[in-house]
Structure formats: C-alpha cells, structure tokens
Symmetry: C2
C-alpha cells in the first residue's frame, strides 16, 4: 500500500504543531514541510525581547530546529523553499528552492497551508528604504538588531499603537532610543475600548514615549536609500529607524489564483476541523480565519496560541482523527516596561454593532492585599449583557500581577458565566496574591448592581 503523503507549507507554530502531531499518530506517513526561511518552530513573539537584549541569542527563540525535525521526527523539512502556486485539481504545489534557484512541482495526498501572517503596510513612497522594518520573522528580528548595533539610532518612529508597537517601544526604550508612536485610532491599543486605551496612553507618556493619535502614515522620506523621516497627514517626523506595527495580514497572496476560498481580508476560510473548501486541503494559524465564541462570528486574529491550537487540530484530523477547534474569545496580553495590558471578548463598539444591550464598569483595585508592600494599582473593565448578566468582555491594565487575571475572564467567557457566577467563583486569596475579593470579582460586584 502506498504511504500517505502530507505536504505542509510553512514551518512555524501551526505547520510544525500539525506535522509533529501527524508524525505521533502516523509513523508511516511521508511528511514534507516547505519553509521559506532557514528557521522552524520559532517564537515570533519573542523578537522584541531579542532586539531589546533581554534574550541574548536569536537561537534561544527556536523551539526545534529543522535538523531536529528531520532526525528525531523523520519530518522532511526543506528550508529556503517557498511555495509559489497551488493546483488543487492535480494535488500539487509549485516550489521555489532559494538554495539552487530551481523550481519543481511536488504532489500531495493531503496539504496543510500554514503560511502565517505578514506585517501590514500600505504601499507608500519609499516603503522599502533601509531602516524600515516589520517584525514578523526571525530574519526581520535579526535585521533590526543588526541595524541598531551598526547605525546606533537615537530616535525611532513606530507606526501603530497595538501589541507589536508597544512591545517594540519597550525594546527600543531599553536600547536607549527615543520613541515616537504614530497611531491611526483616537487612542493607542484599539483592541481596548477608548476609555481604557486612554489609560495606556498615559502609561506610555509616563515612560517618555511621544504619541500622535488619530494620525496616519502618508509616506517616508529617504536619503541614499535610508529612511530619514516619516511623513504623516499632519507632520514630518525625523527618524533614524521605523518599525511597522500596523497589524498583521494573512500571508496568502500565492493562493489568489487557486481554488481555495479566501475571506475579505485574504484569510483562508476553514471549518471547525480546519478544513478549507477543498476536501484534502487544510489551513491553520495566522493565514486562516477563526471563530469568535462571544460574537459567534468568524474573524481574523493572528496569535501564537491560536496557531498552535489550530495546528494541533489540523494535524489530528489529517492523521485521521476527528477534532474540532471551538474558536477563541480573543484573549490577548501585552507588557510594556512595568505595565501589563490584557483584553478578552467584545469591546463596547462590537456590542453596539451586534445590537447587544450591555452595561459596563471600570473599577480600580490592587493586585495584592492593600497593605501588602508589593500591591500595585489595577484597573478592570467588565462588559456584560444587560438582560442576562452574561459576561461579554473584559479589559485589564495594571502593574506586576495584573494581566494574567484575564484568564479567569477568558475561562468565564468559554463557560458563558454570568456576573453572579463570577462573584461566586472560588478564586485564590492570600495577601501576597490578591485582595480578598479578586479585582475581577470587585468589578463583577459593581456591575451586577447596574443590571
């Protein structure tokens, strides 16, 4: 009997989670992975910490190397191979080999697309000048670090006030670089409501960051091929370095001529088993859409956790299993210097768009018992459905120990808990860890009085 042949496009979190799972379940399958870069299974989320110097070696960000996959898992990882085209009628992909600059068609029985995301940037003038970097791959991290040590930039402009923008702000602050953020929304962190975003704004200003909100990138100026300023719709900012933190787009342009169904932003449409519209083609990670369990609608979210989970689900199913990925509650967390920021579920604006009648509150509490020396400020915002008291979303800002509390709210959203359920939760308490009412419960207690 012919051995089943699996091809995986993309050797990072989703692709290698799937490939490893298939190998564990099916020792005889042939598994080929095409990876454009020279790395596999690395933590893209760790790049800011390499740039800041907190993580010394780029190699520390790699969980498993290509040779480890080849030797230990018998997964045929081919690095520096990019898939250019997909022919689902004939079950084959066109591959470009960067080492010998050849191209070839590879056939498959089952295919997984796990090409991840790419930094979003409009096609403005001088977009490709030196000193302008997206933060998405280990190579991009390496390039930024090299650029900083080579040119010793004094000032930097970060375009975008989201997670990548904030994490890179910390990295550059730690390198002694003066940071300016240009941000399109009214407040930074548009994944929070503006009232909480305003607090993040204050936090950033405390850290010495200059912020221009409600301001858009127009184009870049360059000199001798190197970026020298960022021009927005309101001003010109001289700079030695530009970081693009304008979000992530699915890396799926090579599929545009294929029969794979994409949604509006280019993400691959998948069902709960991570199967595309073509029966033997699967997709996982930042190139695919996923389901928001709170809004009950499909959406796009590019996160390492989702990549790992959907990769595992795709791998299980490609190996003959039957596993469904229920979806996410849009949990995200971010640290900038001593400040922690977390969010989950729906924003006020999303509730309005869904025509949900909601109430919300923001409370200020402490991360520990009020008398405990390390007690720090924490703000918790909760949003709940007015009629039922069902939790809809939560946002947290605070110092050490604040953000991981979002996981209780994430678990509550998965379990469709109400505010009364949250008040009843037996959350852990001792003075070094929490006030006797955990801040998320204090928020629930206040909000339940409003429904």
């Amino acid at each position: 009997m012919k051995k089943k042949k699996i091809v995986v496009i993309g050797g990072d979190a989703a692709g290698m989670s799937a490939a490893s799972k298939i190998r564990r379940e099916q020792p005889d399958f042939v598994i080929i992975v095409f990876e454009k870069s020279e790395f596999t299974s690395y933590s893209a989320c760790g790049i800011p910490y390499f740039i800041s110097g907190k993580v010394e070696n780029l190699e520390d960000l790699i969980v498993r190397s290509p040779s480890e996959f080849i030797k230990k898992y018998k997964i045929d990882v081919k690095i520096l191979h990019e898939v250019l085209e997909l022919d689902t009628d004939n079950n084959k992909v066109l591959v470009h080999n960067y080492s010998d600059k050849t191209q070839f068609w590879e056939t498959y029985d089952e295919l997984l697309i796990a090409t991840g995301g790419k930094p979003f940037c409009p096609d403005v003038a001088n977009r490709t000048a030196d000193g302008i970097f997206g933060i998405q791959t280990l190579n991009s991290g390496k390039k930024v670090a090299t650029y900083i040590s080579e040119y010793q930039p004094k000032i930097a402009v970060i375009i975008g006030g989201g997670y990548i923008g904030l994490e890179m702000a910390e990295a550059l602050i730690l390198k002694g670089i003066k940071v300016t953020i240009v941000n399109r929304s009214t407040e930074v962190m548009s994944t929070l409501d503006p009232d909480m975003g305003k607090k993040v704004n204050e936090v950033l200003q405390n850290l010495g960051v200059t912020i221009y909100n409600s301001e858009s990138l127009a184009y870049f100026d360059e000199q001798l091929g190197k970026v020298i300023s960022v021009v927005t719709d309101k001003r010109t900012l001289q700079t030695d370095l530009v970081i693009l933190g304008m979000g992530t787009a699915p890396n799926t342009s090579f599929l545009q001529k294929s029969k794979i169904k994409l949604v509006e932003n280019g993400a691959i449409k998948v069902n709960r088993m991570q199967r595309t519209n073509i029966k033997n083609v699967w997709a996982a990670g930042d190139c695919a859409e996923t389901k928001n369990l709170v809004s009950k609608k499909n959406f796009y979210i590019a996160l390492g956790t989702v990549a790992n989970k959907t990769g595992l689900v795709a791998g299980t199913n490609m190996a003959g299993g039957d596993l469904k990925f229920p979806g996410v509650v849009a949990t995200a967390v971010c640290k900038i210097c001593v400040y922690e920021i977390a969010r989950v579920g729906l924003l006020e604006s999303e509730c309005k768009a869904l025509k949900v009648d909601f109430v919300y509150t923001i409370i200020k509490s402490k991360t520990r018992a009020h008398y405990y020396p390390e007690a720090k400020d924490i703000w918790v915002k909760l949003i709940a459905e007015k009629r039922s008291g069902k939790l809809l979303g939560g946002q947290i800002i605070g110092e050490e120990g604040a953000a991981k509390r979002i996981d209780v709210l994430a678990t509550a959203l998965h379990s469709k808990l109400t505010l009364q359920n949250i008040i009843d939760l037996d959350l852990s308490y001792a003075p070094p860890f929490s006030p006797v009412w955990d801040p998320v419960q204090t928020a629930a207690r206040k909000l339940i009085g409003m429904i």
Copy 2:
C-alpha cells in the same frame, strides 16, 4: 411599625460583610454587632506580614474601624462584648461586656452567628505557657510581635506544616529566627497530595527550615512560666517561641447548650442561604460548614474568601433577599519566600474515598516563555475523572507568577470543564507572561493521553 432588629455575633469578615449589606439594603433596620476584641473587619491573613515587618502598622490590616461602622454605616458595633449564650426560644443572647464586666440579655428579630475560627491545639501540658501563640486575631499578632521584640528569640518551633505554618515560617525567617516545623502528616501541606507535598518539603529545606514529618506534639516544657521546649513523640526540641499552626476549629463552643445544630467538628450546619436549623438564625464564615462543589459533600474550610462571600449571602437574605451560596472548590494559595503553592478541588486520597476512577499527572514547565529571563520553574499536577476526562483537582508549586494560575482551574471546576475544554481555553499568551501553551494546558495535554 417596629423596626426590625438584627444582631450579629462577630465583627470580622463574615459579620461585617453581612452587616454592611443589610445596611445598604435596609436603611431602617437596627443592626447591633457584638465583637469580642477591640477590632472589626481586619485581615487575619495579614498577621504573618505584620510579624515579619513587611507591614509596618497593625492598623494597616484593618479595613474599617468600629467608629467608621458606627458613624458612616449606623451599625451599632459594640467592641469588647462577647456573646456567652444563645436562647433561640426567646430570641435573645447573653452578652458579657469586658469594659464594665457586666452581663445582659439582648433580644433580636434575626441573628447572625459569625464567630469565626480558633487555632486548634490539643490540651497538652503547659499549653498556656508564655511564648506559645496561635495566629488568629489581631491581638494574637500583636502579642507575637511584642514577644519577638522583647525576648529576641533565636529559635522557634512551628507545630503544623499547613498554610499558617508556612506563612509564619517566612515571617520568622525574615526576623532572623531559625525555624523548625513539627508536622503530623508524612509531608508538609497535607492539603496537597504527598508527591507535591514532598516538593514543598524540599523548598522549605532550601530555605533552611528543619522539618520533622510524621511527628506529633506530646507536650510543652516550661520554666518560670515560659515555654522552653516542645516535646514530640520522638524528640525534645529546645525553643524560644512556639507557633501553633495545627489548623482552625470553628469557634462555636458557646452554642453547645443551644438548639443550633452543629456538625461533628463543631461547625454550624447551614443551608445554601446560610440559614441554620432555626429559621431566624443565620451563620457565615469560619464558624459554619460549607459545600464542596467537586465532592458535592459539605465540609469545613476556614478561609477569608468564603467568610466574605457567605457573609454577603447571609446579609442579602437577612435583608429580605433571596441569594444562594453555591459552595466552593477548595481553592487555597500560599507563599513562602520566593515559592508559591496553590491547590484546588480534590486530592487523590479524596478521589479514592469517593470511589472515583481517576488519572493524574505532574508536569514541569516555565512561568514565562522558556527564553524569557524571568522564566521560573512551575510544577502542575492535574487530576481528572478517567471516564469523562472531567477535571477533579489541581495543584501548583513554583516561583513568581506560578500560583495565580490555580484560578483558571478553579473556574474550570466551577464550570465542570473537561481536559479537552481546558486545552481549548483561549488563555493569554505573551513571552513575559506564559509559554505559548500555559502550564495548566500542558498538564491537560499530557493527562488527556492517559484517559
């Protein structure tokens, strides 16, 4: 119309939560609180941190003073008043006033018993010698701190290796006192399984604590009224100071002649509304039993969180509301120097007693991304029902950032989640907060392979 008259016995967490709630709901009720000590609404859990010097003033542990309750909330708090007897046939309590040494009967329409717990200690020889302290009330904390500053003890013996024992060990270590723990069980922290308790044992030894497990207190030796040694069933330990950490017993001996139904250990039997067997008598906090939501059996657990919650429920119902306290999942957390210990749900031994067919695993992971400099070791033990994969319990030991993860497991137990549900949870991830699979999910992934 005659105003309803509420009497509350005990002015700490449960009693004052109830009294405050009644006042908010019923501005016209007469509310009298009898409190034996001179303090109200204080954090008994904070006492070790006052003794260690981390908290400077004993007053910092007080949330609200008697005069604040009297003036701001119109709650008639009578400090230094102890209730000696309860006559439920005639709706009255016999009160002793320590200030003027008088006794009087006070009538009530509704009564709340919130007399809390008392440190458990067998009635051995020289039990009342100087230098032997339980840690339960602010006064006991004050006495220990005074004794330490007056006599400058060099060595101390702590009887009991539970939460109070460990927290007091930290306090005494910080005061430069050499600590020995005498512990009856095979390992310290008998609220954990022995395999995890063994790790806590190692942690304590790393901190320089001497531990004698499987060893029981026989009696104390004294000289001129002061304790000079602890005699166990195996040895004599010279000491300058003894701390009793042998657990908490319900403070209900004054009820033994009353018609209030007590369970075996002396805790007050209550229904889910916190009502006793007598219609207009309620109980809350450490003097009452509560329900374990995992075993579905009533049990006794003395914790500040439960006291606050059951006080709020009793107060709501005494004010005419209709609120039920669902019960707890036995969440507890404790810190000793850099180590964090947490537990929730059932132990292996409890599963066996309930004849539940279970599986368990212990995994070692990191509190942050493996490459993040502040990443510390964390051990997670999970116990699940074999047939259904339903979570039954969890235990965590680790350094900074480890313990609060127990809250996800507590929420999971409240929501009756399975291991697959836990794997599917959208928990927050960024390198400074967690590995991409949170350690509780890594444990669930390993354990699901065993069912």
